[in-house]
């Protein structure tokens, strides 16, 4: 399984962590960020979410994020999985896992990577509320 993926189906956080941990026995700290679909956005009740991505370019950007994280932070491995398509409230959206010898490096790399993902990855979220659909334009 690829460490960096965009997929329709859900993922297992435990399995993704095992995939990342397989890189080295020197891993002592793993930090995972899991983004989930929450029921309220700017005071509006959300019914469901839909994600669209630019196939090819989105995957390429995620791979660039992993490469840059491995280069710029003292981490051993990183995995990134983002879902696309329809996502219900409470479901998983995105997972970023940073594994390092020491926890500080893992925290820094994970936090940087999710910020960078939101900045450069061509993925778009449509929120369905009781009033209708809207493509989300701002960064949260």
């Amino acid at each position: 399984m690829d460490l960096v993926r965009i997929q329709k189906q859900d993922f297992s956080v435990s399995e993704e962590i095992e995939l990342v941990k397989a890189a080295s026995k020197s891993i002592g700290g793993v930090v995972a960020f899991l983004g989930t679909a929450r029921d309220i956005s700017k005071g509006e009740e959300i019914v469901k979410l839909d994600f669209e991505h630019y196939p090819g370019m989105a995957e390429k950007k995620l791979k660039e994020i992993r490469d840059a994280a491995l280069k710029n932070f003292n981490i051993i491995e990183m995995g990134i999985v983002h879902r696309t398509g329809a996502i219900d409230i409470g479901e998983n959206i995105v997972l970023i896992i940073a594994a390092a010898q020491h926890r500080n490096d893992a925290f820094m790399a994970c936090e940087w990577a999710i910020t960078e993902l939101k900045r450069i990855t061509p993925i778009w979220k449509r929120e369905t509320t009781k009033k209708g659909d809207v493509w989300v334009e701002e960064h949260p």
Binding site: G35, F51, E52, H53, Y54, G56, M57, A58, K60, H82, I93, V94, I114, L117, K118, R119, I120, T121, P122, I123, W124, K125, R126, W135, V136, E137, E138, H139, P140
Partner: protein
């Protein structure tokens, strides 16, 4: 020469299609391409002018210095909201 133009998310809705082929002059500059896109897809003119969208060429972010070649894939990318 002919390039392919792709639309995503809200821009796809505005234009009413996912992609279009566009005939443009050889050696067209990036700025000229922006102007042509506004003329060809007037529904998107305000977004292109407002600079709220990014343009990619062959799946890389493009800017004034990007050279556009025959067969290139150009995409209009509204603000990202992944994560």
């Amino acid at each position: 020469m002919v390039i392919k133009v792709r639309f995503f998310a809200m821009l796809k809705t505005k234009v009413g299609k996912e992609e279009a082929n566009l005939t443009v002059p050889e050696n067209i500059s990036f700025d000229k391409l922006r102007d042509m896109l506004k003329k060809e897809f007037p529904a998107l003119a305000e977004f292109i002018d407002g600079k709220s969208i990014m343009i990619s060429v062959n799946q890389e972010f493009a800017d004034k210095n990007t050279i556009i070649k025959d067969g290139d894939e150009v995409a209009l990318l509204p603000p990202f909201s992944g994560g």
